[in-house]
């Protein structure tokens, strides 16, 4: 059966019918689509994974500041807390948060990252996968392969809803990244295709309605911390799905709900920096700090 990425249900069915992993099927189909070999497609994804790795290492260094000067240094703070053993949740959960912050902070400093699916949500997949690889001693190959499952979920969301904050709010960016990460984590941990779909549904449901309200229109406040929240939510959803918890609403219907919620969202809450946190007194003051004028002219 040819994969079309129209529904998650069709991906699950294809995997069940062939008794193969979703990631294997996606790699094979993509090689055909891109008119190249599976090995070359894998190698390109490996390069992206390696960029994620470098970004997490780079972003954790002390003294990192964003181009605007508004953010930076939080991943380092988390890393210090981890090293002191001074955390509630321990290395898997807190490590994932730390790496998500690191990659997002590096992005805000004009560092090199992989949009996954967007630059604004670029910390969530690296946070989940790099930490899983380290803490669960998974192989690099399995982690790279899980990115194909994550991508397939992203393609289904892109086809039925959207991945841009300007179109669907933060739920479409960090929400989608979180659902993609949940799918990757479930596959990595040995979950079934059905469990992957439940993981996606649970992750996305938990972020439905989240607006995109960046202070001064920059990919910093609250985006960086929402990457940490996105990976935390992915772990939460994957954990539930792996334990056999079902989502009452199937993933494909959650995706359509996300689309409708995004359509109903006021434009002020879709990356225009006119509402939400951007419109708070502090948000406006920070705008002035960066651009030296009031936010009234921001489009």
């Amino acid at each position: 059966m040819e994969l079309r990425y129209e529904t998650l249900e069709s991906l699950v069915r294809a995997a069940e019918e062939t008794n193969r992993k979703i990631s294997d099927l996606v790699l094979e189909q993509q090689a055909l689509q891109l008119e190249t070999s599976p090995e070359e497609v894998y190698q390109e994804m490996l390069r992206s994974y390696q960029v994620m790795e470098q970004a997490a290492e780079e972003g954790i260094k002390p003294g990192l500041r964003s181009t605007s000067g508004l953010t930076g240094g939080d991943a380092y703070r988390m890393e210090q807390a981890l090293q002191r053993g001074d955390t509630i949740c321990g290395p898997m959960f807190t490590g994932a948060i730390t790496r998500a912050l690191a990659v997002s902070e590096l992005n805000a400093s004009m560092g090199r990252i992989v949009a996954a699916p967007t630059a604004g949500s670029c910390g969530i997949l690296p946070g989940a996968l790099l930490t899983f690889q380290k803490e669960k001693e998974a192989s690099e190959q399995d982690c790279v392969m899980s990115l194909f499952t994550a991508s397939a979920v992203g393609m289904v969301i892109a086809k039925n809803a959207c991945l841009a904050g300007a179109q669907g709010g933060c739920q479409a960016e960090c929400g989608s990244a979180s659902a993609m990460a949940a799918a990757a984590l479930v596959e990595l941990a040995g979950g079934s295709p059905k469990m992957i779909a439940h993981g996606v549904a649970i992750a996305l449901k938990n972020i439905l309605g989240l607006v995109c309200d960046p202070v001064a229109g920059l990919v910093e406040i609250p985006c960086i911390k929402r990457n940490a929240a996105g990976v935390a939510n992915a772990l939460c959803a994957a954990e539930m799905a792996l334990a056999g918890v079902h989502s009452a609403i199937p993933a494909d219907e959650v995706i359509l709900a996300m689309k409708r919620i995004g359509d109903a969202m006021s434009p002020a809450l879709k990356e225009t920096a006119e509402g939400g946190l951007a419109a708070t007194p502090t948000g406006k003051r920070l705008y002035q700090q960066v651009f030296g004028r009031g936010p009234s002219s921001l489009g």
Partner: protein, 219 residues
């Protein structure tokens, strides 16, 4: 759409639309000029005009004009690099009629004074759509190998090009034609799957009524 549209591109932050997309628009302009630019005039519209500083949109556009890819760490210092390489840059935040909110119009001049003007929008996730070349409507996504063929509006010209591509076994995935007026200058933009064999672009350039054919690699 493929997996690398979702996990990708590898890019310099902070924004796929305002940074990576901007670099790609600059790169298309440079590729269409066909040589190094000596002077660049950049008109920014909408969100590009209002938030370019915080997103490094200006740096990314200039980096693209210098030929850098969206993942080139030198994007951060592109304005200084442009000065060093003798590229004069004028950036004008303004407004363009009926344009997507993230639109830039890049006009480049080479050392001989030859000029090209490219208008493009960054439509999300680092994807772009070039909508005008020298004022003529085009549709270039930069995702595929693309031929931009300037030609005289004369019967048989399109057939000659597409027949030749069919002989090569190249599959066309997007075709668009725009002309200034009947019998005037026209432009074909052809996006293809896979690659175009070596020498094919030169051959197309030598077909009757073709003024110039430019092949653009995916940017």
């Amino acid at each position: 759409m493929n997996v690398f549209d979702i996990v990708g591109p590898v890019m310099i932050g902070p924004s796929s639309s305002h940074t990576a997309g901007a670099a790609r628009i600059g790169r298309v302009a440079r590729a269409l000029l066909g040589t190094d630019a000596a002077r660049a005039e950049i008109l920014l519209h909408g969100s590009f005009a209002k938030t370019y500083k915080g997103h490094g949109t200006d740096k990314a556009l200039v980096a693209g004009i210098l030929g850098m890819k969206p993942d080139d760490p030198r994007i951060r210092n592109s304005l200084q690099l442009a000065a060093q390489e003798g590229l004069k840059v004028e950036l004008v935040p303004g407004s363009i009629e009926n344009a997507h909110p993230n639109t830039a119009r890049v006009t480049l001049w080479d050392r001989e004074g030859r000029q090209i003007s490219v208008q493009g929008a960054s439509v999300g996730g680092g994807s772009i759509l070039i909508t005008q070349v020298n004022g003529m409507s085009v549709e270039i996504s930069g995702q595929f190998v693309t031929l931009i063929i300037l030609h005289r509006d004369a019967p048989g010209t399109i057939a000659a090009v597409t027949e030749y591509m069919s002989e090569l076994g190249v599959n066309i995935c997007n075709f668009r034609l725009a002309r200034q007026y009947k019998g005037g200058t026209a432009v074909m933009t052809i996006e293809v799957d896979g690659k175009i064999p070596k020498g094919a672009n030169e051959h197309i350039g030598s077909l009757p009524n073709i003024i110039r054919s430019t092949m653009l690699e995916p940017v």
